[in-house]
């Protein structure tokens, strides 16, 4: 437990200090959402209808931002070699790093979403549903992203490749996240149906992500 806690706190500290990516993610999220009314026009009824989709899309893109440095930075300064040689199982370490990444980039998005949602004319119930779906769905984005981050670890232009690899895999999360957020404010399907599928996707990615990412890291670092 102790080495895992050390890794968790180390990653969190790196993320929030100068040069870390924690606040960049939220900033990017806010800027992207702010751009949307300029493109669509300030029609409040329209913004209310597409709001959840826009916030989800912005969260998906923002969660990709810091992902390419997740393992690459450790590879550059050599700590990834130490982690690989350490006694803690690599899968668990990778999952811990995923949790740290989510706490530093995913959770701020979830907190910022209802505030920035006000600018898209989201009312109380819609904002609450959106926060709930983001809270459940963003860990899936991070843990699917782990796979791409591990594959791209030794590449010089890994960030570009990462987006190409990870975004198609994130499509189911996006579909059911937006479907659940829309279902909460009225629609033909009850909120529970897409929401439980979203929970299932997150649970599956919590398992598949660390194992695939650890396998990729072992292969890359040989």
């Amino acid at each position: 437990m102790k080495p895992l806690a050390a890794i968790l706190f180390r990653d969190m500290r790196i993320a929030v200090r100068v040069g870390g990516g924690a606040l960049m993610g939220v900033l990017f999220f806010v800027v992207v959402v702010t751009l949307v009314p300029f493109a669509l026009g300030p029609d409040l009824a329209l913004l209310k209808r597409v709001g959840p989709a826009i916030l989800w899309l912005a969260a998906l893109l923002a969660s990709l931002l810091a992902l390419d440095r997740l393992f690459a930075a450790d590879h550059d300064d050599g700590s990834l070699d130490l982690i690989l040689m350490g006694r803690a199982p690599l899968e668990i370490v990778v999952a811990t790093k995923g949790v740290a990444h989510w706490l530093s980039t995913g959770l701020p998005l979830v907190i910022a979403a209802p505030l920035i949602g006000l600018s898209l004319n989201l009312d109380g119930p819609a904002a609450a549903a959106l926060v709930l779906t983001l809270l459940v769905g963003t860990p899936a984005l991070t843990f699917i992203g782990l796979i791409g981050a591990a594959i791209a670890v030794t590449l010089r232009r890994g960030g570009l490749l990462l987006a190409v690899l990870v975004l198609p895999l994130c499509v189911p999360v996006l579909i059911f996240g937006v479907a659940a957020a829309n279902a909460a404010v009225g629609g033909p399907i009850p909120f529970g149906t897409p929401f439980t599928i979203l929970c299932a996707l997150t649970l599956a990615s919590l398992v598949v992500g660390p194992f695939a990412a650890a396998a990729a890291l072992r292969q890359e670092m040989e």
């Binding site: 796979i147 591990a150 594959i151 030794t154 590449l155 232009r157 490749l161 190409v164 690899l165 975004l167 198609p168 895999l169 499509v171 598949v208 695939a212 396998a215 990729a216 292969q219 890359e220």
Partner: protein, 242 residues
């Protein structure tokens, strides 16, 4: 000759040299027969002549999925057994599978226009096949980004295994969701719902396309082995010169 013998690249090259003309020849014969049968097949009573698009569309879908299936088996070969031919198989199959998936998407889109009234709808079957195409492009991007072939093979293998989740989603998408795309009608419990006059030409065309696929994959594998030899020779030459 056992499959294990083919692990030796020289033996595989000899095998490929002998097999490719035969496979290609049989594919040409199957196409000659299949296209003839497809042209003689009756028009659909509702769709008219557009039903003939199916003779390209169904083989494209089948081979797009078969291609990823072959890559998945090859990925296991790469990661578990470190089989030297598995890397080559995975790399050679990716662009060919992507091409057949694209053929499925394009023909389906052209077929959708007269029958559904639209080129594209975002239903589960179409979306999952589009995702398969994007995953193919991702794997090809990995092969083109990582310089060292064996390292690229392992990265692509992991992505291939993760992407294999899409195959059952494609297969069952028409049953899990209400889609504009019709439910399974060729391979289903209780026999096909397609009339024999169209099913038999479809079967022959599918066999012909599958033979083409096998020929192309074998030829691409042969090219890839030769390309790797050239790469190795160049590296030796370069290090000798320096």
């Amino acid at each position: 000759m056992a499959i294990a013998d083919l692990a030796n690249p020289a033996r595989f090259l000899a095998f490929a040299d002998r097999t490719i003309p035969w496979l290609g020849g049989v594919a040409v014969i199957a196409f000659a027969f299949g296209i003839n049968q497809a042209m003689l097949a009756p028009d659909d009573y509702q769709q008219g002549a557009t039903v003939k698009i199916m003779f390209l569309h169904v083989p494209g879908a089948w081979l797009g999925m078969l291609g990823w299936g072959v890559m998945t088996v090859a990925a296991l070969g790469t990661l578990v057994w470190r089989h030297p031919l598995a890397d080559v198989t995975a790399k050679a199959t990716a662009p060919i599978g992507a091409a057949f998936t694209l053929m499925c998407l394009v023909t389906g889109s052209l077929w959708g226009r007269p029958t559904w009234g639209t080129y594209w709808v975002w239903d589960a079957r179409l979306t999952s096949v589009l995702l398969l195409f994007l995953l193919y492009l991702g794997v090809i991007a990995v092969w083109r980004t990582v310089e060292d072939p064996s390292r690229a093979a392992r990265a692509a293998a992991i992505l291939t295994l993760v992407g294999a989740i899409d195959l059952p989603i494609i297969k069952f998408s028409v049953e899990w969701w209400n889609t504009l795309h019709q439910p399974a009608s060729v391979m289903r419990m209780g026999g096909s719902t397609i009339d024999k006059s169209i099913l038999i030409p479809l079967f022959i065309m599918t066999v012909a396309f599958t033979l083409t696929f096998a020929t192309l994959v074998l030829a691409a594998m042969r090219n890839e082995i030769l390309r790797r030899r050239v790469r190795t020779l160049r590296l030796i030459q370069a290090s000798a010169a320096s």
